[in-house]
Symmetry: C2
Subunit: 310 residues, 2 copies
């Protein structure tokens, strides 16, 4: 019998809220095959995870073999596959690696869920982003600065020589989604196009007076009714107002400072927007690719947890 | 034939986004009968208004008579029954009364839509609240201060001796609704009860650093996950954070000042919450009943527009 993927020794998974990405990996952490689906944790009951995973990786599996599967992200949340308890801050990957073994029906897989992180003062949690931070540390072990992970719930992580000291989550992406799709503003931002020329002024105005947010939001609707401002300009301004709120807050928290290096994870348009906004403040962020980092982080965890030993 | 409502000479209507309230009025502006329904403007096509109205007032009508019906609110919006063009600021009721006549199929009613107000710098609009302000002016013709109208879209109106000089709308109520019902926070605020003891500290903290909003919002979720804080406390804090944002913004705009009288319209729990929040800033607002004011405003408009002359 021919082996499906001769070089595959383990499987890496990033199971987010809306997306699950699966990589067949070799012993050196190189990707040999890829799968993904929109069966994110938001859509699944805990009883559905195994079948969902098998559906993605079945062609890679052999009988009479057992492959380690290491999973980062929301699959380890209370509403996920099984809860992988949060680990405390300050958190150093090298000393505090931890995963939770999941009993599966199918003996061809051995599933491990990576733990997320919790912070008590002020209360905050993350699941999945810590693995990207580990990935960053494989490239820059002594990074001393702030790691920014834009997204539905953006994370700002204070990292000091391999130790996560603190982090802050902003609901910016979810606020944008709610306001543009569910609020009264949805009638005024009916477009997917972007009006770059409307961004800067809106961002800087909102940054100077972040408290004016809920009043500025209504103004977008009024601009539409009274001045016939186009939907793409209004959508861009909405984005600028919310991003300015996040950046004003993180600046107040001391996370944006001249002497503090910024690492920005994400090559998407959202990542570009964060980089551009920081430039408007005179800050330069070093950009990293999120997918490469989560793979690197999972590989590092795979080694540290000793999963390579059968 | 007996007359249904012998004293009724006209009908007053407040047609809001979510609620329509109808009053049969006598010549002195006294209510002789009341109806209401949840057929607000948000639920209706423009072709459905006449039938909706008739359904509420049919028992009051007589054949061979034609009753004036004066309507304030969203029925006059672009998506409403028929558009009643906005009037400009500064706006003095006494000099600038205006209504739009609506052609109806049923000859027993003569329908007039009151105009709303628009402001160009910064862009803002109102429909319905101006009628409550007129009502307030019937009681205090020389009021020189700020009128606060809490609601889904709260209005702060700068009023000077009968003239509306400027106003600001905050989306606070809609933000609360979206966040408590549609966002990830809905899992953490699953209650209708109120934890008054959690309000003050949350309000004052958020007022001191309004920019921290989107970061504080996520913290509510984390508090639930990590500290098992109760849903009523989290819901109360959510409310406090959003109200603090509005009040911080309006204070920055110069609308909350020691020498500026505050009139607060609304006897609901929301009105009480605004009054309490202002007290935390050392401000005292005079309270008014919204329903009484909109009736008084409509009566004043009925007189000014000469609708009493058949």
């Amino acid at each position: 019998m021919k082996t499906a993927l001769p070089n595959m020794t383990w499987i890496a998974v990033d199971w987010g809220s809306s997306l699950v990405r699966v990589w067949a990996m070799d012993a050196q952490g190189k990707v040999v095959a890829t799968q993904q689906s929109s069966q994110g944790a938001n859509r699944l009951q805990n009883t559905e995870y195994e079948a969902t995973l098998l559906n993605l990786i079945e062609p890679w599996l052999e009988n009479h073999q057992s492959v380690p599967v290491l999973i980062a992200g929301m699959a380890g949340s209370r509403q996920g596959w099984q809860e992988a308890a949060y680990l405390n801050l300050p958190w150093s990957w090298a000393k505090q690696a931890q995963s939770t073994f999941v009993v599966t029906q199918d003996s061809r897989i051995r599933v491990y869920l990576l733990s997320g992180l919790k912070q008590l003062h002020p209360p905050d949690v993350m699941r999945g982003e810590e693995t990207q931070v580990i990935g960053l540390l494989t490239q820059q072990p002594d990074f001393n600065g702030v790691v920014i992970l834009p997204g539905t719930h953006s994370k700002w992580v204070r990292l000091q020589e391999g130790v996560i000291q603190a982090f802050h989550t902003c609901m910016t992406g979810e606020l944008f989604q709610l306001l543009s799709e569910q609020s009264m503003l949805r009638h005024s931002v009916t477009t997917q196009t972007w009006a770059a020329e409307s961004f800067d002024a809106a961002f800087l105005t909102a940054l100077a007076q972040p408290a004016q947010l809920s009043y500025r939001l209504f103004s977008l609707r009024a601009e539409h009714l009274l001045l016939d401002t186009k939907a793409d300009a209004l959508r861009t301004k909405l984005s600028a107002y919310l991003l300015a709120l996040e950046i004003a807050a993180m600046r107040e928290q001391g996370l944006i400072q001249a002497e503090l290096p910024l690492a920005l994870i994400g090559n998407s348009r959202l990542g570009q927007l964060y980089a551009h906004s920081l430039q408007l403040l005179g800050m330069k962020a070093t950009r990293f690719d999120g997918e490469a980092l989560v793979q690197a982080g999972l590989y590092r965890a795979y080694q540290e947890l000793g999963l390579c030993v059968n």
